[in-house]
């Protein structure tokens, strides 16, 4: 029992520690992966450091009509919005909210998806059938109308938006993790651990979870892209948190205030480009990671 414990934990720690740095290095070696990493690094700096240097005050509105929707100037680098606020500072504040919502929603979705996938794939039987029927159901129903309905009923604040997106983005993760778990439970070391008397919880923790980790990470990176787009769309529809402006809500206000028709490009271009940079960054890194984690995809 003792030796089994040691060898199992050694194995998984080795896999993980060489895993992460080696992964980053192989993504960096991939041309598109490197572009993705750079895009993400730039966004991270803007979202983390930006608001400290250029704080945004949502109450700092213009004093009269001559201050609203003004084109870029030396005072306002990206002009002003429909309330006369500085678009550049608003854009930087929005980066933080958009990233925060996207990442938190992804965490929720990954925990649910990976949990359901591992449990269903490991235990099989009626539990598997029930969980997978639910997964297929949520996979098929269109996510956006459901998110809109839930957002409209539960109200507009950041926590609700994170929950709504997170609770509806897990089905694909569950499917992918389940099929990997199915193949893992057939491996010899699982049946050996079982015959040594290890409990199911222990086998899942020690022998199954570490080996689906790479897959989960690769999938998670792609889910972040989807969650950021989902947040932008929900906020654009008008379900964003009015107190915490994200890129999506900026575009909502730009749209309803008629900034597009007035040609106020400085207002509606930056948030969209910001979304493009983050989503593309996560997509490129995710695909690159997936090719490395799953060499069979390399031929494609």
């Amino acid at each position: 029992m003792m030796t089994f414990e040691l060898s199992a934990s050694d194995e998984s720690t080795v896999v993980q520690s060489t895993g992460l740095s080696a992964m980053l290095r192989s993504i960096w070696a991939d041309r598109l992966g490197r572009v993705g990493l750079i895009l993400l690094a730039v966004t991270a700096v803007v979202a983390i450091v930006g608001p400290m240097i250029f704080p945004f005050d949502p109450t700092d509105v213009g004093s009269d009509a001559s201050t609203i929707l003004q084109p870029p100037s030396s005072e306002h680098w990206l002009g002003t919005d429909e309330l006369g606020r500085d678009v550049f500072r608003e854009f930087i504040a929005g980066a933080r909210i958009s990233l925060f919502v996207g990442i938190m929603a992804t965490l929720i979705s990954t925990v649910i998806g990976a949990g359901i996938g591992i449990v269903a794939g490991y235990f099989r039987g009626p539990l598997d059938t029930t969980l997978m029927s639910a997964t297929d159901f949520f996979l098929v129903i269109p996510a956006l109308p459901l998110m809109i309905a839930m957002g409209a009923i539960f109200g507009q604040n950041l926590v609700i938006i994170i929950l709504v997106i997170g609770l509806l983005s897990w089905p694909r993760t569950a499917r992918i993790v389940r099929s990997q778990t199915l193949s893992l439970r057939q491996r010899q070391y699982v049946s050996r651990a079982k015959s040594l008397g290890a409990s199911d919880a222990r086998i899942i923790r020690r022998n199954v979870a570490p080996h689906v980790m790479q897959l989960i990470v690769a999938n998670t990176i792609l889910v972040v892209a989807g969650c950021i787009l989902a947040e932008a769309t929900l906020s654009f529809i008008g379900l964003g948190d009015p107190d915490r402006i994200s890129w999506g809500s900026m575009l909502h206000f730009a749209f309803v205030s008629g900034a597009v028709g007035l040609g106020a490009w400085w207002y509606f271009l930056p948030p969209g480009l910001g979304i493009l940079v983050v989503v593309l960054g996560f997509t490129l890194v995710g695909h690159s990671f997936e090719r490395i984690a799953n060499p069979r995809l390399k031929g494609e």
Partner: protein
């Protein structure tokens, strides 16, 4: 059980699940649904009482559920106090407009996506191939509504020349039916272009991957050995076989299509289900929002079922499995 019957039963169960889920979402969680309805419009106490009876809200949750199902079975989707009309009438009109938009844009997206995908896949590794892949990934990363806003800016403000809002020109007088159709067609251009720019990537990537796989099959070597021209090889032999995975993947596309259509309708004020959803969110018109959610979900479930049937016809191997 024959697989077809099994699929049909799954469809029925899913629709039933959606109806029940919808009941909990709109009728149980908010506590008193009348409160939701009244939020959009001030109602007198007598009106509230009348509504309460109409929805069977004086009974237990279970009897409320039965009333809800009975109303649905009669096609009664409630009354919109924001629009002063029966929801079923409003939804009926919107549904037709959405179907027009979806039919046109899906045809464009699928056809162009497959053609570009075959073009790129048959030149795997070339500059034009990698340019296609990178461009597709970039466009796939764009929010659909933002692409729409850009097109409104370009064609509405900057260059001009194309209608950017609605389904017909307001107050237009048509000499004949043809002019009417032409007007709708002109209004369709930008919404379709928006959906196409973002969504074509989906079919390009899948067709490309599938074609590359087919090109490495033995029968393609045979085709080359027979001395067939490259064009015949790629477009006749390879493309036909590469299309099956594309059909499978199009099931996954249905959900993305619905999301894209909602955004495009909002940006271009296309009077369909998406714009109706948006307006009912802004007006807090819950009966209409509920109907939109129900109709869209059930339509997607049915569309999935049909896609599955088509797929089974195309590939007999699936029917056996």
């Amino acid at each position: 059980m024959p697989p077809l019957l099994r699929r049909f039963l799954v469809l029925c169960a899913s629709i039933f699940a959606i109806l029940t889920f919808n009941f909990f979402l709109f009728h149980v969680i908010p506590g008193d649904p009348i409160r939701l309805i009244a939020r959009s419009q001030r109602l007198s106490p007598e009106q509230v009482e009348k509504l309460r009876q109409a929805y069977g809200l004086d009974g237990s949750i279970f009897s409320q559920y039965l009333t809800y199902l009975k109303n649905l079975a009669h096609g009664d989707l409630g009354y919109s106090f924001a629009l002063h009309e029966n929801v079923s009438d409003i939804v009926g009109r919107a549904l037709l407009n959405t179907l027009i938009l979806l039919t046109v844009s899906t045809t464009v997206v699928v056809l162009l996506g497959i053609i570009i995908g075959v073009f790129a896949g048959s030149r795997q590794g070339s500059t034009s191939d990698s340019a296609t892949v990178v461009t597709s990934l970039v466009f796939w990363s764009l929010p659909t509504f933002w692409v729409g806003m850009l097109l409104v800016f370009i064609f509405g403000v900057w260059i001009g020349g194309l209608p950017i809002s609605g389904i017909t020109t307001p107050n237009a007088e048509y000499q004949n039916y043809f002019q009417y159709i032409a007007d709708i067609a002109r209004h369709l251009i930008l919404p379709t272009l928006t959906l196409a720019l973002v969504d074509i990537a989906f079919f390009v990537i899948i067709t490309r991957t599938s074609l590359i796989e087919v090109m490495s099959e033995d029968y393609m070597l045979t085709a080359r050995g027979k001395g067939l021209s490259r064009r015949t090889m790629v477009w006749k032999h390879a493309t036909r076989n590469a299309l099956l995975p594309v059909v499978t993947a199009s099931v996954l596309y249905i959900s993305a299509l619905v999301a894209g259509a909602i955004q495009v309708e909002v940006v271009f004020s296309w009077p369909g289900m998406g714009l109706l959803t948006y307006n009912s969110v802004l007006a807090r018109d819950y009966p209409t929002l509920e109907a939109c959610f129900l109709i869209i979900s059930v339509a997607v479930l049915v569309a999935n079922f049909i896609a599955d049937l088509v797929y089974r016809r195309l590939d007999p191997r699936v029917a056996v499995a």
